[in-house]
Each structure stands twice: as C-alpha cells, then as structure tokens.
C-alpha cells in the first residue's frame, strides 16, 4: 500500500492509494472526488491517450486464403510498443506526406507452409515492435506467399479502438457492514467472489473484491449484512493492452485533462 499524493480538489481531500502496479496492470483507489471526475479519467485513458497502430498497408503479394482486407484488419489490431517522446500525431506534424516523425514502416514477408506470427514484422525503428510476438496473423499453405509494407501512425481511441491504450473501469468503494449476525453461513455460500469467511464470527477478507451484487443481503433472513458504497471513492482497474505501460496511461490521461481545462480557461478569459 502506497499513498502517493494528498490534495484538496473542490472541498474534498483527494487521496490516491495504489494497490497494484505492474507494467500491464494498475489497481488504485481514488477517494475524495466526484463520479464525474473519476469518469473523466476513465474516458481520457480510453479515448485520448495516443498510441501507435498500423494504419495503411501496401500489399504487394497475398496468395493466402485470407482476403487482403481481413489481413489488413488483423494487422491493424496488433498493439505496438509506443514511444510517445519521439513520435507526434499526424495532425500535429509539420510535414504533409508523412515523415519519420509521424510514421513508422513495418514489413512482412513470409512463405508457406507455416503460421505467420506478429513477431515476424520487421520494423524500421527498432524501438517500435509488436508488444506481443505470439499473435497468429495468417496460416500459409505450401507455396502461398505474403509480402507487404505497413505504415503505423499515432492515433487516439476516440477514432478507432485499435488505438485504445488500455481497458479502464471503476466501481464505487464497497462498504460491508455486519451487525446481529447469528453465524448461519448462508452468505458465505452465496457470495460469488468468496470474500466472506466464517470462523467464530463473520469475517470479510477482501472488501475490494466485492462486486456489489448484494446476493448476501438477499439471502440473510436477519438482515444482518449490509452492502453499501462510498460515492466519493472509486476503485480503478486499468489493464494496458501492451502499447504503453499502465502507469504512463494514467499519467498521460491526467495530463490530457489538465490540457483541456487549461484550454477552456483560456477561451473563457478571451470572452470576458
């Protein structure tokens, strides 16, 4: 458990409690914010953080059973490891035709019989490679060939889901309270997440895993267990698809919100 930062936003004391942080996954509790604020972070992480994905494809040869379009779609969905420091969005680039600052070229050339994996894509920039090498792209039979060039560009999830950097969701912080329990154990059996344990008394092992389904409330004849939720605390769950580390996705999504609010401020100042 780590407490990173304490700040006061809009009268609440805002707190972030990081429960899990790895390259691909992040789980944290953001408390003292409104649901609108939590949702802004979620939406920004999904739709506004740019990543690289294959956008244009020149197919020189494709004699496999997959149509060109199907192959192109599969290629587009491969997550590419993205370096946001060295690439810019096409719309923000000074060039008109595409340059090494806003695009990367990847080539694929293979001959059957074999299964072609994403790891066989050869990139012009050694830093930009598929984050998963074991994605099967096409199965080639004897004598079938594929030769193509793919152009990857930065893009945002709001345009196409292939540019979505992560899956991000949140739920309200569960609060489980028990009073006047007679220890019958019905709730322990019915709980789908298995967070309730019965020793002498009823114990709650991992409150965060509660899915707020309220099955325990329904089965308890005494009404001894109550599931509530904190409307100002949110349990965030973020899973990166591989193009960016989970931490970077969150930080960039917050930077994006800041940029947008600064832009709004400037606009309003001009008006007044």
């Amino acid at each position: 458990m780590m407490e990173r930062d304490r700040k006061v936003i809009g009268g609440f004391e805002t707190k972030i409690d990081i429960r899990e942080l790895s390259d691909r996954r992040a789980k944290f509790i953001l408390s003292g914010v409104s649901s609108a604020f939590a949702n802004a972070i979620r939406r920004s992480a999904i739709a506004e953080v740019p990543t690289l994905a294959i956008e244009d494809i020149n197919i020189y040869e494709n004699t496999s059973v997959l149509f060109d379009e199907m192959l192109a779609l599969r290629l587009g969905l491969i997550p590419l490891e993205t370096d946001l420091e060295s690439y810019v969005l096409r719309s923000e680039c000074k060039c008109e035709e595409g340059c090494p600052q806003c695009q990367v070229s990847l080539t694929l050339s293979a001959e059957g019989p074999k299964v072609v994996y994403s790891g066989e894509l050869k990139s012009s920039d050694p830093k930009i490679v598929p984050s998963d090498e074991r994605i099967p792209l096409i199965k080639l039979m004897e004598g079938q060939k594929v030769y193509l060039e793919a152009i990857a560009r930065l893009g945002k999830g709001q345009e196409h889901s292939k540019w979505q950097p992560a899956m991000c969701s949140y739920k309200n912080m569960p609060i489980i309270s028990v009073s006047k329990c007679n220890g019958c154990g019905d709730c322990v059996e019915v709980c789908p997440t298995g967070i309730l344990k019965l020793d002498d008394t009823l114990k709650i092992t991992n409150e965060l895993d509660c899915s707020l389904c309220r099955l325990c409330e329904d089965i308890c004849e005494l009404g001894a267990i109550h599931i509530g939720s904190d409307p100002t605390a949110f349990v965030f769950n973020l899973e990166s698809h591989g193009s960016l580390p989970a931490e970077e996705v969150i930080l960039r999504s917050i930077d994006n919100i800041k940029e947008k609010t600064d832009g709004l401020k400037k606009c309003l100042k001009k008006l007044s």
């Binding site: 969905l77 099967p136 979505q164």
Partner: protein, 71 residues
C-alpha cells in the same frame, strides 16, 4: 471464422496469442480423459483470460482456415 480474432470484440484485450496454447492443452486433456466432454475453465484462468467477454472469444471459436485452405 477463418482464424482466431486478434482481440476481444468487447473489451479489446489481445486474446489471440493464447489460442494455440489453449488448443494444445484442450487436446491433451481430451486424450487424458478419453472423452470430449471436459472442463476447460481452469485452462482459461491459467492463461490469464478472466473476463467473460474474452473467455467466450476463445471458447466459441471454430478455426476454419484449414478447411478453407483447399480452395
């Protein structure tokens, strides 16, 4: 479908990289048990496919690429 979709239709998680492992392990288990009626839930758990949207992608997939390769 021709080949396993690269990502889950619903959440966008990459699931295709687990397909071959899954297929191999299911075949092994079928041989071991001597029946086609086996449980595969723990294999999916083991491969790290947790959500039911991703699980149905793998569970319901029928690979047709080999059948079509003749034509």
């Amino acid at each position: 479908m021709y080949m396993i979709p690269v990502r889950c239709f619903t959440c966008g998680n990459v699931i295709s990289s687990s397909w071959e492992d899954y297929k191999k392990r299911v075949e092994e288990r079928k041989k071991e048990m001597g029946t086609n009626e086996i449980r595969v839930g723990d294999i999916l758990d083991d491969l790290g496919i947790k959500r039911y949207c991703c699980r149905r992608m793998i569970l319901s997939h029928v690979e047709l690429v080999d059948a079509l390769a003749k034509y």
